[in-house]
Amino acid sequence: MTGEDAIPGSDMSPPDIDDRAIAAHVPRLRRYATALVGNRADADDLVQDCVEKALANRHALRDPSKLGGWLMTILHNLHISSQRGRRRRGAEVPVEDLADDLALSAPPADRGAVRDFVRAFAQLTDEHRTILLLTGMEGLSYREVAEVLELPIGTVMSRLARAREKLRILLDGGTQQVVRRIK
């Protein structure tokens, strides 16, 4: 019953990535980008750039089943490069609007907690937001995160531990547990 059919075609040329295949990933990319940059307009720019880069390089992706991770990597790299420009320009869009919007999507009793969480999350570094989103929101395994971010898996794990502790301090107050060694 558990047939795992052999893939016939390493000798076949893979089908092209088309608009539809990419479009299926757009809602996820957009959610990730919005949580990462903290406002919708910049997130949409980022996703649009990502889609364009992907289409322009579509022939380079050998294995279409890796499209999702590949798009994440493209988006991640685009974000890093846009942050470099931003730091020079010093532009920063406040996260308040997004915090208010997201609070409204939550049940009334949870609104305060959601608003506080979105604000605290925005105070983390990009690196920490990225790692928390990929593991906690996108549900990627450590190995998959390592592939998307092009990092060793040990770095992924230690960065995740630090990010969680930073966020805990931001949310709960108190002093930071110094995590001396991860392994």
């Binding site: 089908p15 479009a23 999702g68």
Partner: protein, 270 residues
């Protein structure tokens, strides 16, 4: 503190939260947490963070898309690049070449893990398309992170739930209440997709990990073998049987999913 055997590391505690702890270490980790309430409390906060993350940002996935993010995507002419307004210069272009090349190395070389969608190559005329898996996986992502309303009807009204879904889908929807892997049915809901009504059942284990079962009527199809797909951290097993297309999706490992799938298959055919 836990004495004689391998001490539990910080990394293992995080792996425990993330469902990546090898089973043979589970007992040690649980003992360590029981003996160190401060550590247990800290990891409880981490777990709460994770669910707040899902609750806060999860709804973003349902936001309507602006035109520029829906197909057909118009690839902008490279000569028009400056119009992008995000400062794409020629120098960036060179940087991008390298970045893309670097990512490709990983994704071409890393053939062993992740992102396996086995049906796409080979031109098989397969009515059960990638769109079905995408829908099942998307539904899993949306509902499995729900804290307050993961299901529409809880397992306390199991008979009503099963009758209702069976009626709406026109098929027997009797599913196992508890699986051998320790997943318990917590309830279900009726969803709609482009084809019509869809039934979704949700299972949860003691650690709060969730598996969803997504069932769409699929008339005029014969049975098929289980097939495996993966999208990010979500893995899915899907198959067709008796006029239904079914997918079991979750962050669990493949063996766990496959056991649940077999039990579901058994229950629907009993």
């Amino acid at each position: 503190m836990s004495g004689t055997r391998n001490p539990v590391t910080e990394a293992e505690l995080h792996a425990w939260i993330d469902g990546e702890l090898p089973e043979e270490r589970l007992a040690d980790v649980e003992r360590h947490l029981a003996e160190n309430p401060d550590v247990a409390q800290r990891f409880e906060r981490y777990r709460a963070q994770r669910s707040l993350l899902g609750q806060s940002f999860g709804p973003l996935i349902d936001q309507p898309l602006p035109d520029r993010l829906t197909p057909p995507f118009t690839a902008r002419d490279p000569s028009e690049k400056p119009a992008l307004g995000r400062g794409w210069g020629r120098r960036r272009g060179a940087w991008w070449g390298m970045a893309i090349a670097a990512s490709l190395l990983v994704f071409v070389a890393g053939g062993t893990s992740g992102w396996l969608l086995r049906d796409r190559i080979g031109g098989r005329t397969e009515p059960l398309t990638a769109a079905f898996i995408a829908d099942a996986v998307a539904a899993h992502r949306v509902f499995s992170v729900e804290v307050r309303h993961p299901v529409e009807i809880g397992v306390d009204e199991e008979a009503h739930l099963v009758n209702w879904l069976s009626k709406r889908l026109g098929k027997n929807m009797r599913c196992p209440k508890v699986t051998r892997g320790g997943y318990q049915l917590i309830g279900g809901r009726l969803l709609a997709d482009s084809v019509g009504p869809v039934a979704m059942y949700m299972y949860e284990d003691a650690a709060g990990r969730r598996i969803t079962l997504y069932i769409r009527p699929s008339p005029n199809t014969s049975g098929s073998a289980f097939r495996f797909a993966q999208d990010g951290g979500v893995r899915a097993l899907y198959w067709q049987d008796n006029g239904l297309a079914l997918a079991v999706a979750g962050e669990a490992d493949r063996d766990t999913l496959s056991n649940v799938a077999e039990e579901v298959y058994g229950a629907l055919n009993s």
